[in-house]
Symmetry: C4
Subunit: 207 residues, 4 copies
């Protein structure tokens, strides 16, 4: 699992999703334990032994990497807020520019509506016939302060089909039942972010 997460971080880095040491990843190790990437290090250089094991309920660090300079990812609280409300075996946090630009297109109520993309079928339960709604939260000073807002958004019925939360100016949290589904959802959502931004650009031109 650790090897796999490191491989994903390198892939995500190559796509510009976790640049500048940003972004993060976690995955369930057991019902009670999460593997969590370290904070503030180049994500493409994370090694299997650099992960923290944290308590899935309260985020407490259960086992630390031997490199004592490492700190657990700031995503800790948000990742657990997602897992508390969704059947999520893994969550990734992307800092992709396309996620930021897609967040700029949110409506005033903090909602990005995505429709008219076959790619929506790449989401579990997704359909190319419905409007898919993703919550878009305001950014906060500290990442840990986002957790409450993420929890509230995921309690709203209108977002029950979402496997993603966008944070304005910041990026996206994307999850799936396991690492395989999370990876697919991450590809799908980044395609959709590019899609809504690309369409908005062309629509402006076509007016």
């Amino acid at each position: 699992m650790r090897d796999r997460l490191c491989g994903l971080l390198r892939t995500f880095y190559a796509r510009g999703w976790v640049s500048g040491t940003g972004g993060g990843i976690c995955a369930r190790l057991t019902d009670r334990e999460l593997l969590l990437a370290p904070s503030a290090v180049p994500k493409e250089q994370v090694r299997p032994r650099d992960f923290f094991v944290v308590d899935a309920r309260d985020g407490r660090v259960l086992r630390r990497p031997s490199d004592r300079a490492l700190r657990p990812s700031e995503c800790n609280a948000v990742f657990r807020a997602v897992m508390a409300r969704r059947e999520a075996g893994s969550v990734v946090h992307s800092h992709a520019l396309s996620a930021v630009l897609a967040g700029d297109l949110a409506d005033p109520d903090g909602r990005l509506s995505i429709a008219g993309f076959e790619m929506l079928k790449g989401l579990r339960g997704g359909s190319n016939r419905e409007v898919h709604r993703v919550p878009v939260l305001e950014n906060t000073s500290e990442e840990s302060e986002l957790a409450a807002g993420v929890g509230r958004a995921l309690s709203l019925p209108e977002f029950e089909a979402a496997h993603c939360v966008l944070v304005r100016d910041h990026g996206a949290y994307i999850w799936g039942r396991d690492v395989t589904e999370t990876t697919r959802h991450a590809e799908v959502y980044h395609f959709l972010f590019d899609g809504v931004v690309g369409r908005r650009s062309l629509r402006g031109v076509n007016r």
Copy 2:
């Protein structure tokens, strides 16, 4: 042939044409048999032994991969609809965003007209002096429902020079006499999709 198709899928994936498990590929094995990629799996991870062999006339599965979890590509019916009307030895299905955006530029009659590109000469029979017309179909809930529309479009004289069908919100089906020509046509059409989208953007600016 199986190795080659797997290599192409990896190349297409690297270009963003088959992300999120989308897209597909098939090729004639014999007059009566088609090799068909599996559905709903990451296309860049398809192995030579994962292909189905299906009947070229009715799409019936003749030989399955040993991995019983695999299902044949949803493209099955569309691929055969193409082959029934064109001398096609291979068909690829792309989910590239550029194909979706190019589809958005279709005229109300469901036609994308491409002209003013030397690259058109990269299509068999293509010329940089003519308007090249590609049919653009409306998307359907299920991919298999597209087959009838593909067949009708390819019966129309105005599309007789087309080696591609676009599906709105969805992507493109592209073919050639053999895998080599299909690969070249795929490169050419994706260049043309980027080209019409890029020109539309600049034209908007220049008004």
Copy 3:
């Protein structure tokens, strides 16, 4: 030299400059002989033994590759038209979309004016203080018909600083004294094509 040209073709392909079998390359072997890539084959797959040796004065084939299916590049006449008027040891032909879009920005007299880029200093004799003018020719049905127009353009004093000819809807011919300079000029011009297109897009927005 043959190895080096093959390596460059692979690099150019990876950048989208010679996709769909388009584009080409040549280099002086001796005062009287040119190495010329084959036509209508995937440029990224050209092998050292696939090159033609042609007469630098009249383009006559002096030595053919053993693969008798290969034909000499259509660029033959244009490459020699460049070499007749410039001290060029190598010429590349790019089919990059950025070259096509930059050609769209030509003024009605067939001229692209580029200024305000430090990158202009990457051209031999280039300066970031002057307006650099590149001729933009109308496209023709056959590539060989371009040679006369290229020769005329390169005789005009206003284009004496140009190491490039653009062809509308088609691409660019770029050269240098030797392969090293040609490669640098190719990088510089493609940066400039992207630059004028990117600036035009933003300028439209800023009006």
Copy 4:
């Protein structure tokens, strides 16, 4: 250190930051000595033995590479102007197009204001709550003439949080306390350049 700088140059080249032999890098070897890349050579081909060692105070060459054709980078004076006013262990010079386009967005007083990006926290001392100001200088004929302007800009209190100077039409100088921080700052600033340009494009469309 030399190996590491060569690796970074290859990485920067792959991203389009040092194309056409442009760009450069330096790093402190000791308090009194700087490692400086050579000028006017393809940056992706620089080898560990190609670096100059120059005096950190006056830029005098202390040790030259054995290849006598090499000349020290034109960035010499600018790099030292940065190091004289900032605690910088390394400086990179980028020729990225995104840096040029971001420079185009400067206000008339020569200032680029960046706000509303979580990525700002990737800068030492950075915050997602403040407006980050980067000086934008006018370009000069010779790179060495930029040094005085860089020194003046970095003396202004309004730019005290900047780890970057932009030069119009040209590119960016970016630094950090050591090579690791410089690399992170380079990633962050290029993300921000893409970000302000991307947002300006969409804002134009949304008017």
